[in-house]
């Protein structure tokens, strides 16, 4: 039986898309505290403002992350949500679950919390919404002992790493994203659970330049699959596409009649580097000109595949706009092998190079991309011990204000103005 009138929220039970309101009501039949979620949200809909208070100090002992405190500012009206803390549980890589595991986790959340969740949060965690302070330690005890699972990151920690599903179910993935994600998550447990940095730091792993986990847009350290050699072509399949026997773009456009497939218009002409052409009915690619944007492969997945010499590009420093404006991650290492065979040792070396520098130079609440902006890309390239290459920039600088170092200039910076005046009258 509903505890509060929620006429505005009830409007959101209509329509074809699944309704979170109906779902909260379903949960409220099991856990009456959930009526107060609806009650307080209805009040926010009336007042057009949030009724949640600022954080507060909550967590489990010894961890500086994984729990975000949340309290109602109208607890008398809605006692069921007086404390309504968020628990972030580190998701398994790729977000596959056995129902056995998922049910056990849900049972645990039924025992200790509201029963509402996000599957998943933006960073990737399983987000469990709504738990009282005194339930946090018992929940954590059960989570670690019964399920062998752990919390994710928050605050100035390494945030929970995330990956696209990679080779588990995608033919394009150029490295094992889930193994890389899992291995580094385990390797850096301390950094995930305890603050280590000037501000948050995110890892994301995408298997190819389509970048399905938005690593380039969202992570401080983006590992994005890439390859070195030639795109693999199955000429027989190319002919099938040209003959219209296989739907283009993996069938993604089948809902509208776009006319017969036109390889020139849909593939050759849309190639950003114009490095493809037809010779008779054979597709040719000048791979030395290819920038591996994925368009042709996306359009003809049965005919074209990434090359066999596979690895990843590493881009560094993406972030949302707060505060200096949004940044995409900058290409720092064009190609690196990413393999469990060396336990990702070469990737770890890059990560720790960045951390050692950023922990020292980064200002409080400054993302690494902002530190890079502040000190400049040339300094960052030097810190990383890399040779500058044209791939680091979109175009060379257009201003001439180079910070020359004294040792680069013959004779150095010290000069004698009196000597100078002997030859040049003032």
């Amino acid at each position: 039986m509903a505890k509060h009138d929620t006429p505005m929220l009830d409007e959101l039970e209509k329509g074809p898309w699944p309704s979170f309101v109906s779902d909260i009501k379903r949960q409220a039949e099991k856990n009456p505290d959930c009526w107060d979620i609806l009650g307080q949200l209805e009040l926010s809909y009336r007042d057009k403002i949030t009724h949640w208070k600022h954080g507060g100090i909550v967590g489990v002992f010894g961890y500086g992350g994984g729990i975000v405190g949340r309290y109602s500012d109208v607890p008398k009206q809605f006692p069921g949500v007086e404390h309504f803390h968020t628990v972030r549980v580190n998701q398994p890589a790729s977000k596959y679950y056995s129902t056995e595991n998922l049910r056990a986790l849900m049972d645990l959340w039924e025992k200790h919390g509201s029963g509402m969740t996000n599957m998943h949060g933006s960073t990737g965690d399983i987000v469990l919404l709504g738990c009282r302070t005194e339930a946090l330690e018992p929940f954590f005890w059960d989570l670690t002992h019964e399920l062998g699972q752990d919390l994710g990151g928050s605050g100035s920690n390494l945030r929970t790493p995330a990956n696209c599903l990679g080779q588990s179910r995608c033919e394009w993935s150029c490295f094992d994203t889930e193994e890389a994600c899992h291995h580094l998550t385990m390797h850096y447990q301390d950094e995930i659970h305890r603050p280590a940095f000037p501000y948050k730091f995110k890892f994301k792993f995408s298997g190819c330049p389509n970048d399905c986990v938005a690593a380039l847009a969202r992570s401080d350290f983006a590992v994005i699959g890439n390859w070195k050699d030639d795109i693999r072509i199955d000429q027989a399949a190319v002919k099938e596409y040209v003959a219209g026997n296989i739907p283009s773009n993996g069938g993604a456009h089948s809902g509208r009649d776009w006319g017969a497939f036109d390889i020139k218009k849909e593939v050759l002409d849309l190639c950003p580097t114009e490095c493809m052409w037809m010779e008779g009915d054979e597709l040719k690619i000048d791979n030395s000109e290819c920038t591996r944007c994925m368009h042709c492969i996306n359009v003809m997945p049965r005919a074209l595949r990434p090359g066999k010499v596979q690895g990843a590009s590493i881009n560094i420093g993406a972030k949302a706009p707060i505060l200096d404006g949004a940044q995409f991650a900058t290409l720092i290492i064009p190609f690196i092998e990413v393999t469990a065979e060396n336990e990702f040792e070469n990737v770890i070396e890059v990560i720790e190079n960045i951390w050692d520098w950023w922990m020292e130079v980064g200002k409080n609440r400054e993302r690494v991309g902002e530190t890079m902006q502040r000190v400049g890309l040339p300094t960052f390239i030097k810190v990383m011990g890399l040779d500058p290459i044209p791939q680091h920039v979109r175009e060379p600088r257009s201003n001439p204000y180079v910070f020359w170092q004294e040792e680069e200039v013959p004779g150095g910076f010290d000069r004698d103005v009196e000597e100078f005046r002997k030859r040049h009258a003032a």
Binding site: W17, T117, G250, A252, N364
Partner: protein
């Protein structure tokens, strides 16, 4: 056994991390990992992946709200137990994927899903609108300028046909973040719905001493608009801060560090619309979303202005763009002046950048198109 509050450190386990992913792979995934050949979307929401072994993995993708109950998750588990050997997965966009290892298992799965009311809409693939990723909003956040779940529900109800079909020129990724902090990082979405504040923070002098470290609040402001000040509380002079309202950009960063500086407001807060971002490197480089509508009011429960604005942009794009063109690629090809004209969106000074790095967006060529903007 269990947690003992008298002895909290006894047998404590920490730093065990997540379970190994391989425990959760369906058998067809475990067997063929790294050996997939190609994939195809056979109908909206249904994908087949073909492996070198000849095996097939058929995936049925369903949309879900981001805010879901354990009861619903248990129902998802029921479906996975009945059809999928007890495995399922979630996508980065809050969709759920049910996988089976042969084509003849797909229809029974689809029938089962369809029998459960509107809880499991099948779609979200290919050239359509997939699930909207979003933040917490009024359901669970302390800094939002709008709700998230409600706006998303209203928009998805209106765009539902685009979720269950694949009739657009390309995929359209919509995202919502409920304040400028952008937990949801909507800054590279085809259409971004963004909560914005428009009033500077108030200063709660009576509370500031108790809850706030002043240097943190002062240094939190990216524009140096927060300064130390003094105020009188109960006849006593206290140290506090003041805000230079002319310099405030309403980001709320000060409130994040100092609870005595609230800025949310029923009339001040609302929604901005940004368009034309993309994440993929396909064809063109990743792009940021651009601000095209600076403000729409908060109008719960169904935010009709926001729903209409999103639908309008989507449909003008659907009717005008070429096959494969993302919204941002289309807008760049026709020119942003044409974008505003075709979408019938008034161009305002708010779309002209005056923040850092602004010059990058100013037009420094004589190339332009004559649109109704030139009088």
């Amino acid at each position: 056994m269990g947690y003992d509050p008298e002895n909290p450190m006894a047998d404590r386990i920490t730093d065990v991390g997540p379970p190994h992913y391989s425990k959760f792979h369906p058998p067809v995934i475990a067997k063929n990992k790294g050996k997939w050949l190609w994939h195809e979307i056979t109908q909206p929401g249904v994908l087949v992946h073909k492996a070198e072994s000849g095996d097939e993995c058929w995936t049925v993708r369903v949309g879900a709200a981001r805010l879901i109950s354990i009861e619903l998750i248990r129902e998802m588990c029921d479906v996975a137990d009945a059809h999928c050997d007890g495995y399922l997965r979630f996508t980065t966009r809050n969709n759920v994927e049910f996988m089976v290892d042969s084509k003849d298992k797909v229809q029974p799965l689809l029938d089962d899903l369809a029998s459960r009311g509107n809880k499991f809409p099948v779609g979200g693939t290919g050239a359509g609108v997939t699930n909207i990723v979003h933040t917490q909003g009024w359901v669970h956040c302390h800094t939002p300028a709008t709700d998230a779940s409600g706006v998303v529900k209203a928009v998805m109800d209106e765009l539902f046909d685009y979720f269950v079909t694949m009739s657009l020129p390309a995929q359209v990724r919509i995202a919502l973040a409920c304040c400028l902090n952008m937990c949801g990082a909507v800054h590279a979405s085809d259409i971004a719905i963004l909560g914005v504040h428009r009033k500077p923070p108030m200063i709660d002098h009576s509370r500031i001493t108790g809850v706030c470290e002043l240097p943190l609040a002062i240094s939190a402001c990216p524009l140096g608009a927060v300064k130390p000040a003094k105020a009188e509380v109960n006849g006593e002079e206290i140290k506090t801060v003041k805000v230079n309202n002319d310099r405030c950009m309403f980001c709320g960063n000060c409130y994040t560090m100092c609870p005595a500086m609230p800025l949310a407001d029923p009339d001040g807060d609302g929604i901005a619309i940004l368009v034309g971002g993309k994440v993929s490197n396909s064809r063109s480089a990743p792009k940021f979303s651009k601000l095209v509508i600076p403000f729409l009011p908060n109008t719960p429960p169904r935010w009709p202005e926001t729903v209409e604005a999103v639908k309008n942009i989507l449909e003008v794009y659907a009717g005008d763009a070429k096959k494969y063109e993302r919204i941002g690629e289309w807008a760049e090809r026709i020119g942003w002046e044409k974008f505003f004209e075709k979408c019938n969106i008034p161009f305002t000074i708010k779309s002209v950048d005056d923040y850092r790095l602004a010059y990058d967006t100013w037009r420094t060529t004589t190339q332009f198109k004559y649109t109704s903007h030139i009088k």
